[in-house]
């Protein structure tokens, strides 16, 4: 599954950096009907986690009110060089991961 991750490649130690993530997902609300009246089953991402060198720094519970192709942006303090890992989990066993590296000087 395609995900766009925006993490600065370099940062100064102690700097507050913004992390942006965008993943492709329909986020079907479960409240819509087809033209012939059948309910379209819910299919959403329910959870998102960001880990920085293994430690959780941001977590989100998502509901049908989150728009399709969930976009999330949040902040963290650049402490050390390493890896950000992103994980999306959702209905019907949906799971997707991505990662990005940072150099902290």
């Amino acid at each position: 599954m395609a995900a766009l991750i925006n993490v600065p490649a370099k940062a100064k130690r102690g700097e507050i950096i913004e992390i942006g993530t965008l993943t492709s997902h329909i986020m079907e609300t479960g409240f819509r009907h087809t033209a012939d009246g059948r309910l379209v089953p819910r299919d959403i991402i329910t959870s998102f986690i960001c880990r920085y060198n293994g430690a959780e720094i941001f977590r989100a519970d998502l509901f049908p009110a989150i728009a399709a192709n969930p976009y999330l942006s949040f902040f963290t303090v650049a402490k050390e060089s390493g890896k950000f890992e992103f994980e999306w989990v959702g209905d019907n066993g949906y799971s997707s991961t991505a990662s990005a590296s940072i150099v902290v000087e």
Binding site: R32, A65, F74, T76
Partner: protein, 155 residues
């Protein structure tokens, strides 16, 4: 006395002005439909909800409710003993009152989260922040939506 056009207009104008005041200034933050109140109580419990500290940036007039950009920020130093634990977003008139829960911590550096949401109708959006001292702070914003999301027919 026959109702003249001038008299009718002055009456209508007076009524509009009088009617507008309670909507704009007297609407209390806690006057919400039962579902929204229940969803908020689920998160807050019996704790007192205070107004302030939280800022909700969302367009006041939305053309398409399917993707509404939204940013919540909380005035917090984000230090080891004074930080934002979580941010919770609710709506008043979508089929379900929850929008998202965001769990932060002192390592966030800045208590700010952005995402894009769906709004099914013109309604109130409420953002609540839980601080490290377990106090809860809220803000509510009215959003006018012209094209609704969530419940439309599938094509």
């Amino acid at each position: 006395m026959p109702t003249t056009r001038r008299r009718f207009l002055s009456l209508a104008g007076g009524m509009t002005a009088a009617g507008a005041i309670p909507i704009v200034t007297l609407r209390p933050v806690e006057a919400t439909p039962a579902m929204l109140t229940a969803a908020i109580r689920n998160v807050v419990g019996e704790a007192q909800l205070r107004t302030g500290k939280v800022k909700l940036d969302i367009p006041p007039l939305v053309e398409n409710g399917n993707t509404v950009p939204m940013t919540v920020s909380v005035a917090s130093p984000m230090t080891a003993d004074d930080y934002v634990k979580s941010i919770h977003i609710f709506n008043e008139k979508n089929p379900q009152p929850n929008i998202g829960n965001f769990h932060l911590g002192p390592a966030a550096g800045r208590a700010q989260v952005s995402t894009r949401i769906r709004l099914a109708d013109t309604q109130k959006v409420v953002a609540i922040a839980r601080l490290s001292d377990d106090t809860f702070w809220q803000v509510a914003t009215e959003v006018v939506v012209t094209l609704a999301a969530c419940t439309e027919e599938m094509n």
